[in-house]
């Protein structure tokens, strides 16, 4: 241990640099604008009550409202009534910075909707990828047919093409058939995972033929074999692939940025955050970092809970 102190030194310095932006993101999501500006308040900020100026401004009474409220304040001038109402509004609008930041994150933009979109898109991508890739992988691994080598060769060739690289022609094709700004546009380019086919094929190669022969003897159709025999044997590989796929598409920014323009109903979480940044003035650092924290948290928590599986899934692409 004492001999290793320098290793720990290096590793700890590395860890500090790696964690710094996470620390800052979460810390800012707790702090008031003033604390962020002045760089004070430690990690959690002082959590002093703060007044939400916008909220107060919204409740600034006009002449009619003052007239309507007059009976409640007998014997006071309009100005006094106005001040009383504003004081009341200020009392109602004051809250702890952490509450302010997170409530703003969810109310300024439809963050829940964005998160739902993220879930819908990543889930549909994964399901379709599996529905398309599993039968193909099974055929390539276990069925003998003329052209099998050619098909597999094509799979190997397609592994060379990153979907992000061909985003422009894909976008043109989708625009031509009028599919931009739809869920379909977000999902379609990812429905074919050549990598998934390759991976599942490699896995199926290790499944003993006897298992399949027995199933055939029992009169199962090939389709049934894929879903009722092969699928259950492939659960570990599938889980790893699921993690790989979900992480990639939850975090993807490039493709949604291209096919979703303006229609907020279709925004995925990264697009929502981007929009927040676009129209945010300086005082909105807190809510923005709260949004960022909300978006990053699900995967980080899942990762911390099931580290082994995640690391397996992400490094899957390292399999030969």
């Amino acid at each position: 241990m004492t001999r290793d102190w320098w290793k720990h030194m290096i590793l700890i310095i590395g860890a500090i640099i790696v964690i710094a932006p996470f620390y800052m993101m979460v810390s800012y999501s707790f702090k008031s604008p003033g604390e962020i500006d002045r760089g004070e308040g430690g990690f959690f900020g002082r959590q002093e009550l703060m007044v939400d100026e916008r909220c107060v401004k919204l409740r600034d009474p006009n002449r009619d409202e003052i007239a309507a409220a007059a009976p409640n304040y007998p014997g006071q001038s309009d100005n006094e009534i106005r001040e009383a109402i504003i004081a009341e509004a200020e009392a109602d609008c004051s809250m702890r910075p952490v509450v302010f930041n997170y409530s703003k994150a969810f109310t300024e933009a439809p963050l829940i909707r964005y998160l739902m979109n993220g879930v819908i898109v990543t889930a549909s991508i994964f399901l379709i990828q599996i529905v398309v890739a599993l039968p193909a992988a099974y055929a390539l691994a276990k069925l003998k047919f003329w052209g099998r080598e050619a098909v597999f060769g094509l799979v190997l060739f397609c592994l060379l093409i990153p979907v992000h690289a061909i985003a422009l022609p894909l976008y043109i094709m989708l625009a031509k058939i009028g599919l931009t700004n739809t869920y379909a546009a977000l999902v379609v380019p990812w429905t074919i995972s050549v990598f998934g086919i390759f991976l599942m094929r490699q896995f199926f190669m290790t499944v003993p033929d006897d298992l399949i022969d027995t199933a055939r003897m029992d009169g199962m159709s090939e389709m049934a074999i894929v879903w009722r025999v092969m699928l259950p044997t492939a659960i570990p590989a599938l889980l790893a692939f699921a993690i790989f796929s979900v992480v990639a598409h939850w975090n993807d920014y490039f493709w949604p940025r291209i096919v979703v323009t303006g229609n907020r109903d279709l925004f995925t979480p990264p697009l929502g955050l981007r929009e927040f940044k676009g129209d945010g003035d300086g005082s909105f650092f807190g809510p923005m970092m709260a949004t960022a924290t909300v978006i990053v948290t699900p995967l980080i928590v899942a990762f911390l809970l099931a580290q082994r599986r995640f690391i397996e899934g992400i490094t899957l692409s390292g399999m030969k």
Partner: protein, 324 residues
């Protein structure tokens, strides 16, 4: 007669079954094949064709312009900047993130159980939404209220001021980072390394578990006394296949850098276009400015680079960079 017939019938049955199997096989692969053509191969061909035209979305037709688009790519200063930015990024990020990944893996492997904690921490950036982290970094690097410059200011008046960089910063001001064309691309590189080295680390950790312990003993017998000698004699060659893979995948990922650039500079690709990388150029020219011909030409070049890299990798793997 009957004796001869039986095997024949059996043969007929098997051919029937085989025909059946071929048919099912095609049915099972058909959706995947169809999508592969539509989503991967057709777009490549479309990009190839359009790169020789002046097409724009919304126009009824287009003109063939020959190699004009490619000509522009190689002769205009904007695109020269694009190539410089892209290659600077790739050439910086790939070696450093691979080296850091390997270094971290070796250190973690040698410190025992505590190593798992570091592994978890170093892997966090791989999981996190890059766009969110880019925004976090942007705040860290904010010239006046960012943590980085605040931290640097605290070193003023201490012994650290002997470092010229710090001395200059204290005398005048510390860099604007993202707003400074001398720093912008390096900041982006730094974030690329920050995000990617944990991924390389876990690949190397997986590679290290496959190195046989006896090899180290054998190396020691042969006179490799220092850890350094043993590393070059045993570990490095045994990690050959891992390294080939890690370098290729890092290159491909580095070529695709986009999120950080777009988050920092939604317009124009950085101060003086110093961070105008290829993916951003495709996005800006092809999608935003609707100059599809030139965007397609960049796409084609991009594909050539990526395919070239992957083919080199496959060639290296086939030659068996495997001594362990």
């Amino acid at each position: 007669m009957a004796v001869v017939e039986a095997p024949l019938a059996a043969a007929a049955r098997t051919t029937d079954a085989e025909v059946q199997q071929v048919r099912t096989a095609w049915w099972l692969t058909a959706p995947a094949l169809g999508l592969m053509f539509l989503i991967l191969l057709v777009p490549v061909m479309v990009a190839c064709v359009l790169s020789f035209t002046d097409y724009s979305l919304g126009n009824p037709g287009f003109n063939w312009v020959g190699v004009d688009n490619y000509d522009k790519l190689f002769n205009r200063s904007t695109y020269e900047k694009m190539f410089i930015a892209t290659f600077t990024y790739v050439v910086t990020v790939v070696p450093i993130s691979v080296a850091l990944g390997l270094g971290a893996a070796l250190l973690i492997n040698s410190v025992g159980r505590l190593g798992d904690l570091y592994k978890t921490i170093y892997f966090l950036p791989v999981m996190a939404t890059l766009l969110a982290m880019a925004i976090a970094w942007e705040f860290m690097l904010h010239p006046s209220i960012g943590m980085v410059n605040r931290g640097l200011e605290m070193t003023c008046g201490t012994v650290l001021e002997v470092i010229p960089f710090i001395a200059n910063g204290c005398a005048d001001r510390f860099p604007l980072w993202l707003g400074d064309r001398d720093y912008a691309i390096w900041v982006v590189c730094f974030i690329g390394i920050w995000q990617g080295f944990g991924f390389n680390m876990v690949l190397y950790l997986a590679g290290l578990t496959a190195v046989h312990r006896e090899l180290y003993h054998a190396a020691e017998m042969d006179g490799a006394k220092s850890g350094w000698d043993r590393f070059w004699l045993v570990t490095w060659p045994a990690l050959g296949p891992t390294t080939v893979f890690v370098v290729t995948i890092s290159c491909i990922r580095a070529f695709q850098v986009f999120d950080t650039i777009e988050a920092f500079w939604p317009q124009g690709g950085g101060p003086n276009k110093s961070a105008y990388v290829m993916m951003f150029a495709i996005f800006e020219k092809g999608i935003q400015q609707n100059l599809i011909g030139i965007g397609s030409a960049i796409t084609m070049l991009f594909l050539v680079f990526v395919m070239f890299l992957t083919l080199i990798q496959r060639w290296l793997v086939e030659r068996k960079v495997h001594y362990g």
